[in-house]
Every structure is written in structure tokens, then in C-alpha cells.
């Protein structure tokens, strides 16, 4: 009997987060299965980074409970590694030392392997200042992966990259996720990116989850396919608060759509 119960990797129960004079998250309930890829989208300032910091244990919720592996999360989440919006490499450490940050001596070899995974094994001895934006983010990804986290938190890791590099990085992240089978939570501004790589897209609005949409499309996903656009429209509508009227006109612009 017990085996049939869904075992969640991480759950948030009635999470609230207030800052002095501001209530950011009001009632967040999420259950994420092991190995699932969840994308979180929402307008700037809606509390996406705040939610990730809560999941990483860098901050504590004002109310509610975080459950990690069926146990309440007390402090720093040692299972989780975060990849930050701005990379946050230490400029005074060479690439290899950035990746092996927080590891013991034997960590160097693992750091090298992680850099291989992201295709930067030849930049090991460079200062971060000498890397391009995309390379920096790949180093940050290697630094997160080297700890073999069971939960990878990605806070708009690709926000600052150009469109082509973004596509490349998205493919890399999806590929590594399929190889390593970690649970991934990706915060992004880019709804297309969310629909392209997530199993489920969550929209946060006014402190609540206003949409929780599974994406049932086979991988690798065709971004030009009709069902893909349907998902995209539906989520965009939710975020932009588009009226039903507009939605109909939008649907009309895709004459061959069938309801998913």
C-alpha cells in the first residue's frame, strides 16, 4: 500500500514570506516529484528568487513548512545547489578553484570532470574575468553539478545571455538533467524556455500560484509545433491577464489548432 503513495522530493505547505512592510509569498503549495523538471515563471518582483532561496534554505519562511525528502527542512538545504542569476563566480579564484569551492583536496579531480561535462576543460586555469558570459554560466553550472545535488535550483541562469547561447545552454541543461536525473527547478522570464524544457510550468502571481500546468510533450520538443504554441499561449495569457476575448483572436491566428 505504502509504495503506491506518491513520494515527493520537495513540498511546500502554505508557505508565506513577508519582508518588513511587504508580503511577497502568500500561500504557496507545491509538491515536486523526484527527478521532475519544474519551471517557475512570473513577473519581475513576484517572488521567484525568494521562493528559490527558501528552497535552498538560505532564508526561512514566515509561515508554513518546507518538506525535503519527507523531513522538515530546518536550515541550509544540503541536498540543493543553486545557480544564480548573475553567476556569482569568485573573481579571485581560477575556474577550477571556483568549481571546487567547498570541496576537499580530492575535489579537484571531480571539478575537472564537471568542467568536462560543460565543455570547458581547456579553461581550467583561467580567471573568470577572461570568460565570456555564456562560459561563466557554464562554470557556474559545473560548480553546482560537482556537488551532485539531488535538487538543482536555477535562478534565471540564462537571463543575461544572447538568444543563440541560450538555446545551447538550454540543451545542455536538459541533457545533463536527463543524464544525472536530479530534480530541477528553473526560474525564468522566458515562457518559451519554460515550455521547452520543463515537465511542469508554474506561474506565480500576487504571492499565489495562479497556474500549475503539466507539459505533456515528447522530448526533444519542437518549438514550432502547434501544441507547443498552445501551451505557450495559455501560459502567456495567464501572466499577461489577457481577456477571453483576446484569447479567442489569438487562437484564430492558429487556424489548425486542436485542443490539447
Amino acid at each position: 500500500m505504502k509504495e503506491k503513495e506518491p513520494k515527493f522530493h520537495i513540498e511546500t505547505k502554505h508557505i508565506e514570506k513577508n519582508y518588513p512592510g511587504r508580503s511577497v509569498l502568500k500561500d504557496i503549495n507545491l509538491s515536486i516529484k523526484k527527478g521532475e523538471f519544474v519551471a517557475i515563471v512570473g513577473k519581475s518582483g513576484c517572488g521567484k528568487s525568494t521562493l528559490l532561496r527558501l528552497l535552498a534554505g538560505l532564508e526561512t519562511p514566515s509561515k508554513g513548512q518546507l518538506i525535503m525528502d519527507q523531513r522538515p527542512l530546518a536550515e541550509l538545504n544540503s541536498e540543493a545547489r543553486m545557480m544564480f542569476q548573475d553567476g556569482r563566480l569568485l573573481p579571485w579564484k581560477k575556474v577550477i578553484d571556483n568549481v571546487s569551492l567547498g570541496l576537499t583536496k580530492e575535489g579537484k579531480a571531480r571539478a575537472k570532470k564537471a568542467l568536462q561535462l560543460v565543455g570547458l576543460e581547456d579553461r581550467i586555469a583561467d580567471w573568470p574575468a577572461k570568460l565570456s558570459g555564456g562560459q561563466k554560466q557554464r562554470v557556474a553550472l559545473a560548480r553546482a553539478l560537482v556537488h551532485e545535488p539531488s535538487l538543482l535550483l536555477l535562478d534565471e541562469p540564462l537571463g543575461a545571455l544572447d538568444a543563440l547561447t541560450r538555446l545551447e545552454m538550454q540543451a545542455l541543461i536538459e541533457d545533463l538533467w536527463q543524464q544525472k536525473k536530479f530534480t530541477a527547478i528553473l526560474v525564468t522570464h522566458d515562457v518559451e524556455e519554460a515550455v521547452a524544457i520543463a515537465d511542469r510550468v508554474i506561474v506565480i502571481e500576487n504571492g499565489y500560484i495562479s497556474l500549475n500546468q503539466s507539459i505533456d510533450l515528447p522530448r526533444p520538443r519542437q518549438r514550432t509545433s502547434t501544441p507547443f504554441s498552445m501551451y505557450l499561449d495559455q501560459i502567456l495569457d495567464r501572466i499577461m491577464g489577457r481577456t477571453q476575448q483576446k484569447k479567442i483572436t489569438l487562437l484564430r491566428s492558429y487556424p489548425n489548432t486542436t485542443k490539447v
Binding site: L58, L76, R81, R88, P91, W92, K93, L101, G102, W127
Partner: protein, 255 residues
């Protein structure tokens, strides 16, 4: 090849003006436009240096001055650095000390000379005390601000990657504050020489400043100028050493 000649000329060009001045000075002295009562010729100053070294007198004065500078710098630097660290890291230390230190900082330390002479007389302690006092504040201010202005995002990242306590300090906080700390060190080296010159000139019976004041009584222009040249050389030397440290510790920052 082309690169190295460019490098060489870049090293030489800054010295052209001092060399030209020196040659001009020598020429004007030789033809008598500058009387040696006003300013002795470079060769005369050089001769004075040789004479004084042969008796060992010069070495004595120089090593005494260097000793004072170094000991005062170390004492003041360590105290300033320690307070900067503690007040930068621990909120309680900051609340407790910072305001008082900021108030003391506004007293020009050279104004204390009469008091210091009454306290310690005119022997070593008074000079070392003044140098230490002068050096302490720039080191303190820059260490404190350096630590306060370490990128909060990097500290959060360090914590998220399991660093805390000592590891967080040595991998993230100290390197993040280093460029500011070195600015403080460089600035305080200037303060160190200035303080020493003033203190040795006003009250001492040894050291470069004393040598100059003593020469004044006997109208030994060459020795006076020699003292000034020595201070200039040591000032330049400490600047070069500070720059070497910067280049070594801030390699990641450079080209």
C-alpha cells in the same frame, strides 16, 4: 622583439625628467648660477653621502629611521587591521568601537607631538607611537570599508555552497576586501614617512631627520639635501613594494 623594446622604453621614459633635472641642476651649479649656499650641486650631495657612509654615520641614521618606520607601521597596521576586521564582521564590535574610532581619527595625530614628548620624552617610543597612530587609521578605515562592501551576493553564494566561519572568511570575505585593504596600506605608507620626518625633525637624537637638523646648525647644505633625497628614495621604495604586493594579491584583477 618589438614588444620588448616597447616595454623597455616604457620603463625608461618616466626617468627622463628626473635625469634631465639632475643634469640641469649640476650644470647651473657648475657655472655658478645656483650658489652652493642655496643649493649644493648633485655631486656635492653625492660626496656628502660617501663621506658620511665611510664613517658609518649614514648607515646608523638610516637604519634607525627605517627601524622606527617599520616597527611603527607594523604596530599601527596590525591594530588598524584587527579593528577593521572585527568591526567589519561583527555587528557588536562595530556598534561598540566604530563611532569612537571615527572620532579619534579626526584628531590630526601630529597635533599630539607636544603631549607625546611629555609622555615618552624624545626617545624611540615617542616616534614609534606617532607613526603607529598615523598608520592605524587609514588601515582601519579601508579594511572596515573593504569588508563592509564585499558583494553580498558572493557571501550568499558561499553560504549556499556550504562555506561558513573560517572558510567563508578566507575564500570570500578577505579576498573581496583585499583591494581596499591594500589601498589603505599604500596610503598609510605615505603617512608613515611623513610622520617620521616631522617627529625626527622636531625631536630626536638620531635618524635621518636628526641628521638634517644637526647639519642645519653647521650650515652643511649638502647633508640637508642628502636627507631630503633619502626620504624621497625611501618613499618611492615603499610605494614600489606596495605595488608589488598589489600585483601579486590582485592578479585576478589585472590584464
Amino acid at each position: 622583439m618589438k614588444f620588448s623594446t616597447k616595454n623597455l622604453s616604457e620603463k625608461l621614459i618616466p626617468w627622463l625628467v628626473p635625469i634631465m633635472l639632475l643634469v640641469g641642476w649640476q650644470l647651473l651649479s657648475v657655472v655658478g648660477i645656483i650658489p652652493s649656499r642655496i643649493l649644493p650641486a648633485p655631486t656635492q650631495v653625492f660626496q656628502a653621502a660617501i663621506d658620511l657612509s665611510s664613517t658609518g654615520e649614514l648607515m646608523d641614521h638610516v637604519s634607525i629611521s627605517l627601524g622606527r618606520a617599520l616597527i611603527g607601521f607594523l604596530i599601527g597596521g596590525v591594530i588598524g587591521f584587527a579593528f577593521g576586521l572585527f568591526n567589519g564582521i561583527f555587528r557588536f564590535a562595530e556598534l561598540f568601537f566604530d563611532t569612537s574610532i571615527q572620532m579619534l581619527r579626526n584628531i590630526p595625530h601630529l597635533a599630539l607631538i607636544p603631549l607625546v614628548i611629555l609622555w615618552f620624552g624624545i626617545d624611540e617610543t615617542s616616534k614609534i607611537f606617532l607613526v603607529a597612530l598615523g598608520v592605524m587609521f587609514p588601515v582601519y578605515i579601508n579594511t572596515y570599508h573593504g569588508i563592509k562592501s564585499v558583494d553580498k551576493g558572493l557571501i550568499e553564494m558561499g553560504k549556499a555552497y556550504g562555506l561558513k566561519g573560517k572558510a567563508l572568511f578566507f575564500h570570500v570575505i578577505l579576498p573581496g576586501a583585499m583591494s581596499s585593504i591594500l589601498v589603505g596600506v599604500r596610503f598609510s605608507l605615505g603617512v608613515m614617512w611623513l610622520t617620521l620626518i616631522v617627529a625626527e625633525t622636531i625631536s630626536a637624537h638620531s635618524g635621518i631627520g636628526y641628521m638634517a637638523m644637526n647639519a642645519r646648525e653647521f650650515m652643511q647644505m649638502d647633508v640637508i639635501v642628502l636627507s631630503i633625497v633619502l626620504y624621497a628614495l625611501f618613499g618611492k621604495l615603499s610605494d614600489v613594494i606596495a605595488k608589488l604586493f598589489e600585483r601579486k594579491l590582485l592578479r585576478w584583477n589585472g590584464s
